[in-house]
Structure formats: C-alpha cells, structure tokens
C-alpha cells in the first residue's frame, strides 16, 4: 500500500483518539459533578416541615432573647441541618441553601462576584462541570430581600440540579410539593409555590422592574391570565406588590427559546434554632 495512505490513516487514528479523550474528560467531569451534588442531599433537613408546618400553634422561641437581635424575638424558630461552615470551606461564594422537601432539589446557592455566567458551567467547588450550579446573578442581592430573586439551574436529563422542575407541570406533583426553603446562615425562609409554567427566554430582571409596584402587579396579573392553560397556579398564593418572590428558572426541555419557571412567595421567616436553644 502507498506510504501516504499509512500517514493518512495514522493522522485519522490520532484525531479519533483525541476526540475519544475529550469524550472521556466530559464523562469524568459529568459524574464528578453529579457525585458532588449528591453529597448535599445529606444536608437537607431530615424533617423539614416538622417545625415550621404549624408555626402559629407552637412556635419554638429562642430562650435567650438578650443574645439575639430584636427581630429574632418575634420570629418562629426552626432547626437547620445545613452546615454553612463546611460549605464555606468548599466555596466562600455559597451564601444560601435551596431545599424543596421530598425532592432531590437540595443544593447550595452561589453567586459569582465577577462573572454572572460563571456558575452556569462550574460546580460549587469551582471545578468545570457542564451541569453548573444553582446560582443567582448580581442583579439580585444575596439577602433574598428583592421583590423577585431569580435562581438558575440546568435542566439535566438525570434529574439533577433543576431537572425535576419540569415535574411541577404535573398538577399532582405541583399540589404535593407546595413549599421551598431557603436556608441562610442566620435564618430560614419559607416560600409557598404559586406558579409553574413555561415562559419565554426573556431575562426577567433585565426586562421588568419588579421594584415598581405597578409593574410587579401587572406582571403577575399577565401571568395569571395568559398562562392559565399552560401552567399550574395556586390562585390563593399569588403575590401582590410588597411581597418577596423567588423564581426558579431552567430550560424548557427541547426548546432553547423557552424557560420553565417555578415561582413562590415568601410566607414565613424562621430564626435558626441551635442545639442550645432546643435544650
């Protein structure tokens, strides 16, 4: 056979091997990221609804009010199993922990100080991961005090990250999972889910001024009327201006120009109950 053919076949083989190595790296980072994500499941509260389910009936108050700031005295308390010290060792940009009870959606929440899309392709330990992290952008404060805080996550086929959000399109699932918890170092925020629907890919925070009460009310009135057929709504929980909304956003499977949104309104804020408080 001709010598040039030997060279050609060798070059083709080398190219095939290089692409194969790329595939192996992709597979490695995928499973590494998935493994890291699963480790956070242990941090979710074993019985997240146990304390806060009936806060009015028997709220657990901190026993040392003089040690706490004034507002904490009025707050009901709940235990949080999220170890923020351990999370800070992984990444100092972790500032909250998202949990939807009875699902595998239990992830740290990060926000990059430099690049708003950094955590779209990086795990919470800052390693490259195509599944990304659950993250907010710098348009939102890290205190969840904005009228609308938007958290993004990938819609992974494995169900990791926000891969399960699409299940909220099912009315039974929507009704069975009405609560979202945001754990923070000093408090836990309880949200009630009021809407789950496919929406356009417009950037909510750059195209709407939710700090304007009229625009806030107008946006949710439009959602209520225009998406009634394609989404699941809890009419009783729809927010009004002044409420604090949490939006979970992920891609709508198979359509790059659509997003699937799950929105919830803040209903309760809990102080963290430490072991000493409980004793």
């Amino acid at each position: 056979m001709k010598p040039w053919l030997k060279w050609l076949l060798t070059i083709v083989a080398i190219l095939l091997i290089l692409v194969c190595i790329f595939c192996c790296i992709y597979i490695y980072q995928y499973f590494r990221g998935a493994s890291l994500n699963r480790s956070f499941l242990k941090m979710s509260s074993p019985e997240p609804a146990a304390s806060p389910a009936e806060p009015e009936s028997e709220p657990v108050q901190p026993e040392e009010p003089e040690a706490e700031p004034e507002p904490a005295e009025e707050m009901p308390a709940m235990e949080s199993t999220v170890d923020f010290a351990a999370l800070a060792e992984i990444n100092e940009e972790i500032y909250a922990f998202l949990e939807i009870p009875d699902t595998t959606i239990c992830y740290p929440v990060v926000q990059s100080g430099e690049d708003n899309l950094y955590y779209n392709t990086h795990a919470v330990d800052k390693s490259y991961y195509t599944g990304g992290s659950i993250y907010s952008q710098s348009y939102n404060a890290k205190t969840f005090e904005d009228p609308n805080t938007v958290l993004y996550g990938h819609n992974l086929r494995s169900g990791d990250m926000f891969g399960l959000l699409g299940n909220f399109a099912d009315v039974d699932f929507f009704q069975a999972h009405p609560t979202i918890y945001i754990h923070m170092p000093d408090q836990v925020l309880q949200y009630r889910i009021f809407a789950a629907y496919p929406y356009s890919n417009e950037h909510l925070l750059l195209n709407h001024d939710f700090s304007d009460p009229a625009e806030f009310d107008d946006f949710f009135a439009t959602i209520r009327s225009d998406y009634a057929l394609s989404g699941n709504f809890d009419e009783d929980a729809f927010p009004v201006s002044g409420d604090r909304v949490l939006t979970l956003s992920t891609c709508y499977s198979g359509n790059r120009s659509m997003r699937f949104l799950v929105q919830a309104v803040l209903v309760e804020t809990y102080a963290i109950q430490t072991g000493e408080d409980a004793a």
């Binding site: 030997k6 091997i17 195509t130 950037h203 750059l206 997003r259």
Partner: protein, 80 residues
C-alpha cells in the same frame, strides 16, 4: 472504476446545485428587507441557557465507537 466516476459526477452535481441555490439567493439585490432602515429594534436580554448540551449516554457511546474506530484505523495503518 465506473462506479467511482458516477459517484464523483453525482457529488459534483450536488455541489453545483448547492452553489446555484446560494447564488440565486445572493443575487437577489432588488429585494429589500422589510426591516431595512429600521433602527428602532428592541432586542430583549435573554436569561442564561440552562439546557444540557450533550446526553452523557450519547457521549459514552461515542467514546466507545471512537475508541474502536481508532483501533481499527491504527491496525490498518500498521499493516500498510
């Protein structure tokens, strides 16, 4: 040999057809876009893409296939 010639001719014909279509579109200088001169275009900011670029299963299959193809190609090259 005839088969090769036929295939080559077919390939050239396909390429020419493709070029003709491109030329036909490119030469339409008389047709102006309805948006021509419109400078008031509002381009909405979009939220981040959070889909999954590749299915890991497909990548796994591709890796196995590529590995096999590389082995066969190397074997063929060695026997030359």
């Amino acid at each position: 040999m005839n088969m090769r010639r036929i295939l080559a001719l077919l390939l050239i014909a396909v390429l020419l057809c493709g070029m003709l279509a491109t030329l036909a579109l490119a030469s339409g200088g008389d047709v102006t876009s309805p948006e021509s001169g419109n400078t008031n275009v509002i381009q909405k900011e979009t939220s981040p893409q959070t889909g999954e670029p590749f299915s890991v299963g497909l990548v796994l299959v591709a890796a196995v296939f590529l590995c096999g193809a590389a082995a066969v190609t190397l074997k063929k090259a060695a026997s030359c």
